[in-house]
Amino acid sequence: MKKPIYMDNSATTPCDPRVAEKLCQHLTTEGVYGNPASRSHEYGWLADEAAEAGRAHVAALIGASLKEIVWTSGATESDNLALKGAAHFYKKKGNHLITVKTEHKAILDTCRQLEREGFEITYLDPKENGRLDLTVLEAAIKPETILVSVMHVNNEIGVIQDMAAIGKLTREKGILLHCDAAQSAGKISIDVNEMNVDLLSLSAHKIYGPKGIGALYVRRKPRVRLEAQIHGGGHERGMRSGTLATHQIVGMGEAFRIAKEEMASEAERIGKLRDKLLQGLQDIEEVYVNGDMGHRIPGNLNISFNYVEGESLIMALKDVAVSSGSACTSASLEPSYVLRALGRSDELAHSSIRFTIGRFTTEEEIDYTIELVKGKIGKLRELSPLWDMYKEGIDLNSVQWAAH
């Protein structure tokens, strides 16, 4: 067994060897290295052909057509383009957008920017299990609402939103629906038409493709318009300028092709591993699963070990790569805003660990992880004054802490 064991597949995934092979064919000197925008020679044509094949695979995974896929540099850019692009284009129609407090930073930070530009944003609270209450959403809709943005699957807790129900509502109300599907693509099925989604963000590196490439689905019927956010040579039908990285597109295409083919069997295998991990860890006293277990992608387990601080646990689990909170914010010491939005106490939020199981995780690795975590939790609790207090029956909420 190779260590460290990688259980941080929601932060990023290794390239599938099949993806890497395909991608490398477009990297090396023997390969196709033309500029896909070069219309005048074979180098350009071959590159363009490869890019279009990639586009077809991406479209196929989400039930879209070729012309509805716009390449971007990643899901962050897709989120920016979707929200800013739609807000700027439709600002005469209205200035109100709705999103959820547990969205990825790429959405929340973009919303803050739109607020600075004069748009009004409503940030909805999810239910305690992480899911969005449709009545809460419906109540937030105003005549000025132009767009609702809800992520399909949360990156920290893996909870799945009922996009079809949300889409039904937004379609009835004539409001655009954007969905950040960076964490759901390739893990659960997506059909943009069943969901009535108008804009959908995708990333390659979360599903065994390369970093630095993503896509935005932009519905054509009924047609959704966007104002471009990166201006230039007019690539991607004017929606996104910049030379396409052929090898990355090819890599993303291959990753999506494999995902479509293997998703069902993979979900079953990964789900079993996750359940085994959960069972193993549930033997430990005072553990709490964060987010709904019933509506969750198979690979995610987010769990709080009460009275143990998350960062010290990560340090103790140095042979297992996991994360506390999301990788994007892990440079800060704030407890996870997602868990806080779920109403988790700061203590439990501080004590949370996210295990994300992927295509290359083995049962042996799960067994090892369970034993390791059990041992380390024991050790850290021996060190923890809070654990002593808990054992003495002291209610921690009754203690006057000197906040600092």
């Binding site: 601080e309 340090m315 440079a331 700061d346 501080h350 060190l383 802490w401 906040a403 600092h404």
Partner: protein, 126 residues
């Protein structure tokens, strides 16, 4: 972020983990921090009649740097008089452990823990 060798050493082999009877009149207990902030340190000092710290124990809920800071402090205070112990500064701790800027608060907490423990001890002597 990579931890320094010294932090790793204290984290993996924490010194003086444990508890004294907090009702013992020769024991000063300091508990600082808050669970909501992600760190709580409990430092206990056993002080001789001559005012010398004979022994020290700690328990810490917090990150690796917080655990290392409190572990280090238990080593440093032993054999010192109360007044000498009060002179330990957070900057000394941070320097010894090569703490990065985002972890300086751990050393501050350790200094606070010494002060709180000594205050508790002094209170008991009145």
């Amino acid at each position: 972020m990579a931890y320094s060798e010294k932090v790793l050493d204290h984290y993996e082999n924490p010194r003086n983990v444990g508890t004294f009877d907090k009702d013992d009149s020769s024991v000063g207990t300091g508990m600082v921090g808050a669970p909501a902030c992600g760190d709580v340190m409990k430092l206990q000092l056993k002080v001789s009649d001559q005012g010398v710290i004979e022994d020290a124990k700690f328990k810490t809920y917090g990150c690796g740097s917080a655990i290392a800071s409190s572990s280090l402090v238990t080593e440093w205070v032993k054999g010192k008089s109360i007044d000498e112990a009060l002179e330990i500064k957070n900057s000394d701790i941070a320097e010894e452990l090569a703490l990065p800027p985002v972890k300086i608060h751990c050393s501050v907490l350790a200094e606070d823990a010494i002060k709180a423990a000594i205050e508790d001890y002094k209170g008991k002597q009145k």
